[in-house]
């Protein structure tokens, strides 16, 4: 009796040993549509390939909703091991004390292989990568080559001077919307300043400490927005509000040129076919081109889980980094590969010429341009709120309710109040 009990116990323990190392973990993400499909494909492929661990990927219908639920879950100790979060919330998570840096838990990975603009956005001021870049995009320039061809232009302009020249020709040819331009700071402030190597705030956009202050209101951005307003008066630039299809003006065939995310390429290709041409986002003459910033999101590892769960998390992060996984994700979504090695594999394969991969080359090249201290990224508190402030003030200026300069001064002043309150909220916390 006793022996059989011990035997049973030993058997049970023996069976339990592999089970103790196996883990079922959750990964929360925010994307919908085709990106969600690609994420679910990756999860299924992981579960099929993995015999110890398994992952459940839970969609939350948006980055912000996912973050809200993660906050609530963390406060009650029900949080997932892995969570995807978008670029603008990087600082909130870095200071949250709720995450582990991926470099710390996976020192063996060749993190240097991540493309420059992606690394710098998610790393600390001392160069420690905190989260693993996942769905990466960046700003590129789109042109409808058929429309440009009608006025004898065959090359996509690379400077604003060139863009304006082409726009004038289009306008003289009766074109109602030569350039579609959005005022959201991702377009008119962040990506713009980064590729010109200009700071939007002191301390290198906040990388140097929480006591940063906004400085964009005196720099090139102010000049750029004044130009946009003048070009809009002249009928060269159009805001989404000025054109029937709004933000879809380019895909609808209303507008000839547009700067926007590389992730929009799939939609443009489906709508316009061969007419879509892409290039680097334009810069002003006399400036050296710097890297653009990464858009999209990265995967964060949260604290307070079992060792086995972290083994599973490592396995999943390694899995989505595999070249064929990155290439499959790029093909399905239009996001760019995030490691140089994966891009090389793609280029060496016979898939390189397929239209789905057209943005990979130019997007990665734009992210890999030589950077400087001001093109690393944005590390400013309550940044999501600041984006709204910027949109409000600039929209009022473009509607003629105030001068552009006054709008930028207001936005900077209100932004600085947000920064000071953020600094106070995180009093005593060191920015990593």
């Amino acid at each position: 009796m006793k022996i059989s009990f011990l035997a049973a116990l030993a058997l049970a323990l023996g069976a339990a040993v592999p089970a103790a190392n196996a883990a079922e973990i959750e990964f929360w993400y925010g994307n919908t549509g085709r990106v969600e499909e690609a994420i679910q494909n990756a999860c299924e492929a992981f579960n099929a390939a993995e015999d110890t661990h398994s992952i459940t990927c839970v969609g939350h219908g948006g980055y912000e909703a996912g973050m809200q639920k993660a906050i609530a879950a963390y406060r009650t100790g029900e949080h997932p091991v892995l969570i995807q979060f978008f670029d603008a919330g990087t600082l909130d998570l870095m200071l949250s004390g709720a995450v582990l840096s991926v470099e710390a838990i996976m020192p063996e990975v060749a993190w240097d292989d991540y493309i420059g603009g992606a690394r710098s956005y998610y790393e600390t001021s001392t160069g420690e990568l905190y989260s693993q870049p996942y769905n990466g995009s960046t700003m590129i320039f789109y042109a409808n080559m058929e429309m440009l061809g009608e006025v004898g232009v065959t090359d996509i302009p690379e400077t604003y001077k060139g863009v304006v020249e082409v726009a004038r020709r289009l306008k003289d040819n009766g074109h109602a919307c030569p350039v579609l331009q959005r005022v959201h700071p991702w377009f008119s402030l962040e990506q713009f300043s980064a590729r010109h190597g200009e700071a939007i705030a002191s301390n290198n956009n906040g990388y140097g400490g929480l006591d940063a202050e906004y400085t964009f209101n005196t720099g090139l951005v102010a000049e750029h927005l004044v130009n946009i307003a003048a070009w809009r008066e002249e009928g060269l630039f159009r805001l989404p509000a000025d054109t029937p299809a709004g933000r879809n003006g380019f895909n609808a065939g209303e507008c000839a040129m547009l700067e926007t995310s590389s992730a929009a390429y799939g939609g443009a290709l489906a709508a316009l076919g061969d007419a879509v041409g892409i290039g680097f986002a334009p810069i002003y003459e006399g400036y050296e081109r710097r890297n653009t910033l990464i858009g999209g999101a990265s995967i964060w590892v949260m604290k307070d889980h079992e060792d086995a769960s972290y083994d599973a998390a490592r396995a999943f992060l390694n899995f989505v980094r595999e070249h064929d996984q990155q290439i499959a994700f790029t093909r399905h979504t239009g996001y760019v590969p995030v490691t140089n090695a994966a891009l090389e594999t793609l280029k060496a394969s016979d898939m390189a010429d397929e239209p789905e991969f057209a943005t990979a080359d130019i997007g990665v090249a734009s992210l890999n341009m030589p950077g400087d201290a001001n093109s690393r990224g944005i590390r400013l508190g309550f940044y999501v709120q600041f984006r709204d402030v910027f949109i409000q003030e600039v929209t009022m200026a473009l509607n003629g309710e105030q001068e552009i300069q006054a709008a930028l001064d207001n936005a900077a002043a209100r932004g600085n109040e947000l920064l000071r309150r953020f600094e106070q909220t995180y009093q005593g916390v060191e920015l990593p």
């Binding site: 912000e64 973050m67 809200q68 906050i71 963390y74 406060r75 919330g89 909130d92 200071l95 949250s96 004390g97 709720a98 805001l239 989404p240 509000a241 000025d242 054109t243 029937p244 709004g246 309550f382 999501v384 709120q385 709204d388 949109i391 409000q392 003030e393 929209t395 009022m396 473009l398 509607n399 309710e401 209100r414 309150r421 106070q424 909220t425 995180y426 009093q427 005593g428 916390v429």
Partner: protein, 303 residues
């Protein structure tokens, strides 16, 4: 107000025996109200005196600092001003139009039976759906006002003109409010004894005179009810419309208090700022409702 006929000792005359039964019957809803109303409200009060980090840890007491910051922020006062303007215009129109419709339907005009049904239908449409539909209706290029833009380019564009956007939210809110107000006011009118109206008519009172001197005074309880519900509704329920139609823009033209709280708390993780504004909004609503109940002294329920 309701008079209390039964004193505490006479409880036993009720349907159930013993207090425990009553307590148990009421308990579920009390627990729900406690969990989903008082606890969050309490937490909002608590957070409004702290600087709270979204993921917890290191929250620090700052006294009235959150309040002084919010109250010295011109953006907050602008949002409050817009909320008050919205609270006056939208209920005014929603109740005024419903009253006209109800008076017409009550008179038994031709087709009023059919109209009674049709006017109620919009009640079945959710606020967010109404927002989506009105975005199409007011589209500056394709909507009903696009002919105006053909004549005077750029005159109507709620995508960039704040006043236009505010007007679209008001129209959607009014449209949304009419069915319910109509039902309440019509039922109130039909409950007015026929003989009052008929005898007034026999005495030679015209239809306007009958409305002003008989129907409206006897309708005050229903008018009061719709006003209270509309006031509170415009403060808290306009959220769905704003979120689907304008997201608070352009500029800040349609950022009412309720939307600002949502953006600060749920999109920007500024829990303390949002909690402070929630407390202020609660105080605002309570004050408005108390003012209305002072008005209620003039409402006569007896007929």
């Amino acid at each position: 107000m309701v008079r209390r006929y039964c004193k505490a000792g006479k409880m036993r005359q009720g349907f159930y025996v013993g207090r425990v039964t009553y307590a148990m019957l009421v308990a579920p809803i009390l627990v729900l109200i406690f969990l989903f109303f008082y606890v969050p409200v309490g937490l909002a009060f608590f957070w409004s005196f702290f600087l709270e980090r979204p993921f917890g840890g290191g929250s620090q007491f700052v006294g009235m600092q959150n309040f002084s910051r919010v109250l010295s922020d011109p953006v907050y006062w602008e949002a409050l001003r817009r909320t008050v303007v919205f609270m006056i215009i939208a209920p005014g129109l929603a109740i005024g139009i419903s009253l006209v419709l109800a008076l017409a339907a009550d008179r038994g005009l031709r087709l009023s039976q059919a109209a009674r049904n049709i006017v109620i239908w919009p009640k079945a449409v959710a606020g967010a759906s109404i927002g989506v539909v009105f975005v199409f209706i007011f589209n500056p290029f394709l909507g009903i006002f696009s002919p105006i833009n053909d004549l005077f380019p750029g005159l109507w564009n709620p995508r960039i003109d704040g006043n236009d956007a505010f007007a679209t939210i008001v129209v959607a809110q009014v449209w949304n409010g009419i069915p319910f107000n109509f039902v309440i006011l019509l039922s109130g009118l039909q409950a007015i004894p026929d003989m009052l109206v008929k005898s007034a008519a026999m005495d030679g009172a015209g239809s306007w005179r009958r409305i002003l001197d008989i129907q409206l005074p006897l309708l005050t309880p229903q008018l009061f009810l719709t006003f209270v519900l509309e006031f509170v509704g415009t403060v808290v329920e306009a959220f769905g419309l704003i979120d689907t139609m304008t997201q608070g823009g352009p500029g800040e033209a349609t950022t009412l208090l309720i939307y600002k709280i949502y953006v600060d708390g749920f999109k920007a993780y500024d829990l303390s700022g949002a909690a402070t504004q929630t407390v202020l909004l609660m105080i605002f609503v309570i004050v408005m409702v108390l003012l209305q109940f002072r008005l209620e002294k003039h409402v006569k329920y007896e007929r």
